[in-house]
Symmetry: C2
Subunit: 277 residues, 2 copies
């Protein structure tokens, strides 16, 4: 029997399923957790969604994602902060350990990436008290550098680690193989972060060739990432948190039935997600 007690499926992996369908579909096949997205949760209603998840007994490693704060105009920025407080509350209500911080890239017309990064740091400082008070961590996720302009200007593990250490309690890192595998610092970064700073560990493979910049992540084993190596680094540092598959895949997995995607996700991930040895 596979030990799936640490294993969650991020619901974007089965894009066409509602929250209820995803919860039922994952639980039925033995996954223990679900990574939730805000739009699906809003569609279900936060209260009702929380009940659905609780009744199925799934754990929630994260709520995806923060509202973007790449807004140069003050009132728009403030509105994004307010929306992020709402999302932290929603995360608390569904029992999510963290809100994944994907803060946007450059503002419209902006070319100053350093300014964009400073703005994100300010937003995190503003949100930190609220995050602490509701018991939901701000999960800084280094996103692949190819998303620096238009999805997240948090592009490296080193940068997120630095922010996490600076901001302290109530923040941590969401590490994702798809986003970080290329980084010469990735393994070392995991070691320097230590188990206590890693909130959840996302699994996605890098396909060769990659046919789409945004939505062509590979099923575990179909690409070139050395998952066994990263698992060994995580064991070495004593990590015993969640593993979570997360695929954006308009050319393959999103075209399949959710039950099939769930089954193969579990099949491929099971050898990687068991208890620490």
């Amino acid at each position: 029997m596979s030990d799936l007690s640490r294993f969650a499926i991020n619901q974007i992996t089965t894009r066409d399923w509602s929250l209820k369908e995803a919860v039922d579909g994952y639980a039925r096949q033995g996954a223990a957790g679900i990574g939730v997205w805000m739009d699906y949760l809003d569609a279900a209603g936060v209260n009702a969604g929380a009940r659905i998840i609780r009744e199925a007994g799934l754990f929630v490693p994260c709520l995806c994602t923060s509202a973007w704060v790449n807004l140069a105009e003050r009132s728009a920025f403030d509105a994004a902060i307010a929306e992020n407080r709402r999302r932290l509350d929603a995360a608390a209500e569904i029992g999510a350990s963290c809100l994944v911080v994907v803060p946007g890239g450059l503002a419209t017309g902006e070319r100053d990436l350093q300014a964009a990064r400073s703005r994100v740091e300010s937003a995190l400082e503003i949100l930190l008290d609220h995050a602490r008070s509701v018991g939901v961590a701000l999960g800084l996720e280094p996103l692949h550098p190819m998303y620096a302009a238009d999805r997240s200007c948090l592009s490296t593990f080193a940068h997120c680690l630095e922010l996490t250490k600076k901001l302290g309690e109530g923040t941590g890192i969401v590490a994702d193989t798809y986003h970080c595998w290329w980084d010469p610092f990735f393994a070392q970064g995991l070691r320097e972060a230590g188990s206590e700073h890693i909130l959840t560990f996302h699994l996605g493979d890098w396909l060769v060739p990659t046919r789409d910049v945004y939505q062509d992540r590979g099923m575990i084993g179909d690409g070139v990432i050395d998952f066994a190596f990263y698992r060994s680094v995580l064991d070495e540092i004593g990590y015993d948190g969640p593993f979570e598959i997360e695929l954006f895949s308009k050319l393959d997995w999103w075209t399949r039935d959710g039950a099939e995607t769930t089954r193969i996700s579990i099949e491929r991930c099971a050898p990687l997600v068991g208890a620490r040895k």
Copy 2:
């Protein structure tokens, strides 16, 4: 009058032109240099190509690129080393300051990126004597992380800088805005490298959205990169080497006539490539 004395066009920017056509086309519009690709040079013949370039009076900031060394099998690796020696000789013959090192990514079936990187380091160590003896530097180019698997496992400025400092004389860095603009360390890396370690500076813009992983680089000014900022960093460190536009653009610039691409390249780059103030 624009000062184009430091400005070269990398010939891949006008993909459909032969070496002769590119040399003539660039010289006619006032560009002072040409970045040469090995396949065009071979098509012309190295000797004849060298004469064409010399007669036009163009400088050659680089020869692109090294032969890939992502070969686990010994005899194949050795053949790639031999081919790289031939390319160093060719670079010397056309007066190129460096051979751009794009060494390939993972070997077939390989998942160990660290092993791939060690293999590249070995290859560079092997080639170093020859590079020194013919007076052509090995130009380590950090390639965008999205190419780590299948084009170059040299993914960050920091990694290339470390290798350059370790290997010493006969090596240097080829910096490219397209590949490095996202990197929180890029500006600092340029400062730490210092003018003496930067062999040539490539210009290419990052488009939003990027429609193709490999061949959708943007004309300077059409994307989000802050070129004026990087120019100021280069001035600050006393860089007075070449600037070189290099576009892979199957959806736009490669579909246009070379003379038009040349004209607009010069128009857009002229404000960025003049003498140091």
